[in-house]
């Protein structure tokens, strides 16, 4: 269980990036965090990852407070962030340096095959396309068998076709070991395709405005009426479109539902 309790983050220049964020994510759950730019969603992910520490409150995994990067928490960034001096296989095996060579080679090969890049093992990162590089980044995180995988706008730099492919691919990979996924995104479609629950954040300071359950069977049909309805609810919470009457939105923050 990933527990985020009353987390706030104030930067040295007194900018309050986050205020009073509370969120529980169950094991195996997929949570998408959406919000406009500057709402602190990436900051939240950095706190969960242990790259930054919160100014108030705390983040814990199974009761273990996160103050620095945690073995069981993996992250995929917006950019692939592959190490250019290592081959694809070297990048995927980067976190397995302390394992015996044979085990490392075996796990790397299996993970690369799983993301469909077995033939690219000995290639330099510069020779990969954007989508392939992001798949290598995904493999690098998954090969560590994380309990929680954080994704920070992982597909936002890709074209629409590659993005849709990788969203399906991510769900496929998730089904293997069912890690907890926290996906930060500004793409409402991406949130609804992936998530069990969509957390909507609003800025200044960043706080949770609403959490919307997406109770749709997977694989989700991007054209169905139910999908469209879910999308309208999220859009309404983001204040992008006029609210619809029968939209039932639960707020974790207790903010007034003004519509």
């Amino acid at each position: 269980m990933l527990t985020i309790t009353h987390v706030g983050k104030t930067y040295a220049n007194t900018v309050r990036a986050l205020d009073g964020i509370s969120l529980d994510v169950a094991p195996g759950e997929i949570v998408a965090v959406v919000g406009g730019s500057g709402c602190g969603k990436s900051t939240l992910l950095r706190l969960v990852c242990g790259l930054d520490i919160p100014s108030q409150g705390s983040v814990a995994l199974d009761g273990d407070t996160i103050a620095s990067p945690h073995q069981k928490i993996g992250i995929v960034f917006q950019e692939p962030r592959l190490l250019p001096w290592l081959t694809v296989a070297g990048n995927v095996g980067f976190g397995l340096a302390d394992r015996p060579r044979a085990e490392r080679a075996e796990r790397v090969a299996r993970q690369l095959a799983r993301v469909g890049l077995a033939d690219k093992a000995s290639v330099w990162p510069r020779e990969l396309s954007g989508g392939q590089a992001q798949r290598v980044a995904l493999a690098r995180a998954l090969v560590m068998r994380p309990e929680v995988l954080l994704l920070d706008e992982p597909f936002s730099a890709l074209d629409a076709f590659t993005r849709a492919d990788l969203q399906d691919h991510l769900l496929d990979l998730w089904a293997d070991t069912k890690p907890t996924l926290v996906v930060v995104t500004h793409d409402v479609d991406e949130a609804i395709v992936l998530a069990d629950r969509v957390v909507v954040m609003r800025p200044q300071p960043g706080r949770v405005f609403a959490a919307i359950e997406i109770d749709l069977a997977r694989p989700r049909d991007r054209q169905s009426a139910a999908y469209d309805f879910a999308k309208r609810r999220v859009m309404a919470a983001l204040d992008r479109k006029p609210a619809i009457d029968d939209c039932e939105t639960r707020s974790d923050h207790g903010a007034a539902m003004w519509w």
Binding site: L51, Q71, F77, E79, P84, G95, W124
Partner: protein, 275 residues
């Protein structure tokens, strides 16, 4: 698609099938110096000039073979090479350590960098009297001077490279919970390597510059001594011969250095200049 790939790949294939073409591109660099040499040789041969102050290539070559036959050339080259090698080693070690420490820690940077930058502004020759007083007129003062010359480009290069390592890549190391030493070995060192090779090459270039300064100001052997000797005895061919040897050895050592570094830099995603 196939149309494109055919029209694009054809000239490349033709280029590789002709063995001459492989040498044609490097050979382009010889056109200017060889052309000028031939022109001057012709001018002296025709009697437009006596070539006393500016000797033609044939006379320089004769001087070189003469020096080589007597074993003089080898002795001078060996002496100069030894000095550059020793000075380069000391300069690189000191420059790498100082650059890495100041790049890594802001405190040491504030402490050391201003003083080092001030020292860098001092013209190299200004050190010579002091080094001679301190270390005598033999090898130590010369090697120290060369080390000083090598130190600064290496120091600046390493410090700049460490400072400009991509924060995002360092974060990858943090996510994988690398210790300080692991972070240096697995992230920082490989990341600064291309800039480091460049710094070593400029350091070597300055080493060759400073060895001349050191040998001009009192030496009994070395290529710099050949220069002074040629001036004092009025033998311009010997001066030019020594300069040519400097150029050849300097270029060769630089080439060897890049050659040694190349296997470690195969991953680089470079622009590489227009072909």
């Amino acid at each position: 698609m196939s149309l494109f790939s055919i029209s694009l790949s054809e000239p490349v294939a033709a280029d590789e099938s002709r063995p001459l073409a492989r040498f044609a591109k490097p050979a382009l660099g010889f056109v200017l110096p060889v052309g000028l040499g031939v022109l001057w040789e012709f001018a002296v041969w025709q009697g437009y000039s006596d070539g006393r102050l500016v000797p033609p290539p044939s006379r320089i070559w004769a001087t070189l073979t003469e020096l080589a036959a007597s074993g003089e050339l080898q002795r001078h080259v060996a002496a100069t090479l030894m000095r550059v090698a020793a000075g380069f080693c000391f300069g690189v070690i000191a420059g790498t350590l100082a650059g890495a420490i100041t790049g890594y820690s802001a405190l040491t940077r504030r402490l050391l960098d201003p003083a080092l930058q001030a020292l860098r502004a001092i013209p190299s020759i200004a050190w010579v009297p002091l080094f001679i007083l301190w270390l005598g007129i033999f090898e130590s003062s010369k090697i120290t001077l060369i080390s000083v010359g090598v130190f600064f480009p290496v120091y600046l290069g390493v410090m700049g490279a460490v400072l400009s390592v991509d924060r995002k890549i360092v974060e990858v190391g943090r996510v994988f919970r690398l210790s300080g030493a692991q972070m240096v070995r697995r992230i920082l060192l490989p990341a600064v390597l291309p800039a480091y090779v460049l710094a070593l090459r400029s350091g070597l270039g300055l080493g060759w510059m400073f060895v001349v300064a050191a040998e001009l100001l009192g030496a009994s052997e070395g290529l710099g001594y050949l220069l002074v000797d040629g001036q004092q005895l009025g033998k311009p061919a010997q001066i030019v011969a020594a300069i040519v040897v400097f150029a050849v050895i300097g270029k060769t050592t630089d080439w060897l250095l890049s050659l040694a570094a190349a296997p470690f830099l195969r991953w680089e995603d470079r622009y590489g200049g227009r072909q």
